[in-house]
C-alpha cells in the first residue's frame, strides 16, 4: 500500500528520536568528548519529541495500516516519557561518574528504551506492542547490569532478565491464542468487538495471559518478586527510569487493551481480577515497606503499592478511572523521579548512604535537599495539596462510581499505613541528631532535576482540575 508523505510527517516524533539515536551512536563513536555531549543531545531530542507530541495532541490518527496511532492518549504518554527522560538525563550527568560507569552507552540505551515506550503507547497492533515492549525491556536489562564489576548489579540484572523473559513467554502465548480467535492481531478490531470476542473462553485465557505478562512489568502483587532486589541492585538513576517510565509504558498498553471497557463505562469480567490484584498489591507493598531501612528498597515496596492504587482504576473500568490513572501516573512519575534524584545525590560511592541512618539530621546539613525530600515524601504519602493526594482521590472516586466502595476503602486503609514509612524519613531528617558524617558532592544538574520534579508535583497538586479536564478532553476526542 502506498504511504503518503503525510504519514511520515505524523510519525515525526518517532523519526526524530530514531535519527537522534543514530547520531548519538556516531557521536559516541567518533568524538572523544562524546560522553560529555550525549546527555545534552538526549535532552534536546526529548524536548523536540515533547514539542512535536504537543502539536498533535488533539488530532488522533491511525497510520501505516493500523500499526501506529498518534495523537490523543499516545501523545500524552509521549509527553510524559519525554519529560521524565529529561529529568533522568539531568540526574545522570553527575551520578554516572560516582557509580563507576561513565560511558556514553548509557544515554544510547536510554534513548532506545524511550523509543520502545513510545511504540508501546502508540501501538495499534499486537505486533507493535510486542516489539515496543522488547525494545524497552532489553535496554533495561542491560542498564540494570551495566556496571559489570558490581555483584549486586549482576544479580539484579539476571533476576530481572529471567523474570522479564518469562513474562514475555506468557505475553507471546496469550497473543497467539488471541490471534487464533480474532484471525488478526489488530487492536482496533479488538477494541471494536471486545464484547463479542470476550464471550469466547479461549480469547479470555489469552487476554489474561497477556495481562499476567504486563503485571510483571507494572510490578503488581503476585508478580512483584523481582522489584525490591532489582530496584536496589540497579544504579539509582536507572531505578528511577524503570520504576516510572517502564511502569507508565506498561500501563499505556493495558489502557489500549482495555479501551473498549473504559469507553463504555461498563466494567468487565476482568474487574474482579484487577480488584484482587489491587487489594493484594496495596496491602503487601505498604505493610512490607514498614520494615525497610534502605530507602531504595522502601521505595520499591511503595511502588508495588502504587501499582495497586492504579489497578483500582483498572478494576473500576470507566472514563473517570482512565483519566484518574493518567493523572496518577504523571504524579507518580515526577514524585518517584524526584525521590530517586535526591537519593542519587546523597548516595556515596559503592552504594553507601542509601539507608535511613544517612538521612538523620539531614535538615541541618543540607536544608534544601531535606526540604525537597520532605515535600516529595508528603506527596507520595498522599497528603493534600500535593499531586499524590489528587491521584489517589480521582482513582478512589472512579471506584465508587463503579460500585466498588470497598476497594476504595482498602485503598484509604493502605494509604494510612503508608503515611508511617514516608513520614519516618521526614522525622529522621528533621528530628534526629546527625550520625556519622556523610559526604555529598554538589551536583547542579541533579539539583535542577529535583527542582523541576518539585515544581511539577506542586503544580499538579495545586491545579489538579485543570490538568484533569485537559486529560478528560483529550480522552473524549
Amino acid at each position: 500500500m502506498p504511504q503518503t508523505t503525510n504519514e511520515y510527517l505524523l510519525i515525526l516524533p518517532f523519526l526524530v528520536l530514531s535519527a537522534g539515536i543514530i547520531v548519538s551512536l556516531c557521536v559516541e563513536l567518533f568524538f572523544r568528548k562524546g560522553k560529555e555531549l550525549l546527555p545534552y543531545l538526549s535532552i534536546a531530542l526529548f524536548l523536540i519529541v515533547a514539542y512535536l507530541s504537543v502539536g498533535q495532541i488533539y488530532e488522533k490518527n491511525v497510520l501505516f495500516g493500523g500499526m501506529l496511532i498518534t495523537g490523543g492518549i499516545p501523545a500524552i504518554f509521549n509527553l510524559l516519557f519525554a519529560a521524565a527522560g529529561v529529568l533522568v538525563m539531568l540526574n545522570s550527568i553527575g551520578f554516572l561518574k560516582k557509580y563507576g560507569f561513565y560511558h556514553g552507552e548509557f544515554y544510547l540505551l536510554t534513548q532506545l528504551s524511550v523509543l520502545g515506550m513510545m511504540l508501546m503507547a502508540g501501538s495499534g497492533d499486537l505486533v507493535t506492542v510486542f516489539l515496543g515492549l522488547e525494545l524497552m525491556s532489553i535496554p533495561f536489562y542491560v542498564l540494570v547490569g551495566m556496571n559489570r564489576k558490581k555483584v549486586s548489579a549482576n544479580e539484579a540484572a539476571m533476576k530481572y532478565f529471567l523474570l522479564g523473559a518469562f513474562a514475555t513467554g506468557f505475553i507471546v502465548y496469550g497473543i497467539a491464542l488471541i490471534y487464533g480467535i480474532m484471525g488478526n492481531t489488530s487492536l482496533i478490531d479488538l477494541t471494536e468487538n471486545f464484547y463479542i470476542y470476550s464471550e469466547n473462553i479461549i480469547f479470555i485465557t489469552g487476554f489474561i495471559l497477556i495481562l499476567i505478562g504486563f503485571s510483571f512489568k507494572i510490578a503488581a502483587f503476585p508478580f512483584h518478586m523481582w522489584v525490591p532486589d532489582v530496584y536496589q541492585g540497579a544504579a539509582t538513576n536507572v531505578t528511577g527510569l524503570m520504576s516510572t517510565m517502564g511502569k507508565s509504558a506498561a500501563f499505556s498498553v493495558i489502557f489500549i487493551l482495555l479501551t473498549a471497557v473504559f469507553m463504555n463505562d461498563a466494567g468487565s469480567k476482568l474487574g474482579n481480577y484487577f480488584a484482587v490484584i489491587a487489594t493484594l498489591s496495596m496491602l503487601y507493598g505498604s505493610i512490607v515497606a514498614l520494615s525497610q531501612n534502605n530507602l531504595k528498597r522502601m521505595l520499591a515496596y511503595s511502588s508495588i503499592s502504587h501499582a495497586g492504587y492504579m489497578a483500582i482504576g483498572l478494576a473500576a473500568g470507566n472514563k473517570a478511572a482512565l483519566a484518574g490513572i493518567m493523572f496518577y501516573l504523571a504524579a507518580y512519575t515526577f514524585m518517584n523521579l524526584g525521590a530517586f534524584g535526591i537519593i542519587s545525590i546523597i548516595e556515596g560511592e559503592e552504594d553507601k548512604q542509601t539507608d535511613l541512618n544517612s538521612y538523620a539530621g539531614l535538615a541541618k546539613r543540607f536544608p534544601f535537599l531535606a526540604g525537597m525530600m520532605a515535600l516529595i515524601m508528603f506527596a507520595l504519602a498522599g497528603i493534600p495539596p500535593m499531586a499524590g493526594f489528587f491521584g489517589k482521590y480521582y482513582v478512589f472516586i472512579s471506584a465508587i462510581q463503579s460500585n466498588m466502595t470497598w476497594l476504595a476503602l482498602v485503598g484509604i486503609l493502605s494509604s494510612v499505613i503508608s503515611v508511617y514509612f514516608y513520614l519516618r524519613v521526614v522525622v529522621y531528617m528533621y528530628f534526629k541528631e546527625p550520625g556519622e558524617e556523610i559526604s555529598v558532592k554538589s551536583d547542579y544538574s541533579a539539583y535542577a532535576a529535583v527542582i523541576f520534579a518539585g515544581i511539577l508535583i506542586l503544580s499538579l497538586g495545586l491545579f489538579p482540575d485543570t490538568f484533569l479536564s485537559v486529560i478528560e478532553y483529550i480522552i473524549s476526542v
Binding site: 500499526m67 516489539l131 522488547e134 559489570r148
Partner: protein, 171 residues
Amino acid sequence: MNFELLLFIVFALVAAVSSLMMITRKNAVISAVFLVLNFFALAGLYLLLNAQFIAVVQIIVYAGAIMVLFLFVLMLLNTGKEEAILHGKKPIKYFAIFIAAVVFLQVAYLLVFGSGSFTSNPDIEASLSSGTVETIGREIYTKYIIPFEAAGFLLLAATIGALILAKKKFE
C-alpha cells in the same frame, strides 16, 4: 491412517519427549542438545503446516544460531552437573509441577471444548500461499514496515547491550 498423520505423530512425539528430556537432564549440555532436537521436530511440524519459510528460519536461526550460542556459552563456562532435579528440600518444586500440570489440563480442556470457534475447514490454497517467502516478505515490507524498523533498533540495542556486558575490557 494416512502418511500425514503418521508424520505428525512422529514429529509431535519427538517434540514432546525431547522437551521433557530437556528439563530433566542434569547435564546442561545434554539439555541443550535435546532442545535442538525439539527445534528440528518443530521445523518438521511447520512444514506439515505449509509454513516453509518459518520452517527454514527455525532451523537456520533457532537451531543453527541461537542454540549454537547457548552451547558455546555452556562449554565456555563449564558449569558442571546440577544435582538431581527434585533433590532435597524444595516442596515448591513439586508445587510447580502440580501447577504446570493443572494449567496444561485446563488449556487442553479449553481447546477441546472451545474448539467450535476455530475454522474447521481450512482453505488449502490460502494456507499454501500464506507460508511462502514471497507472501511473508511482502507483508513485512508493506504492512509491517514499522515493526520491521523497530526490530532493527531492537537488534541495535541488543548489540550494544551485549558489548557492554561481555566485552573483555572497557576502556
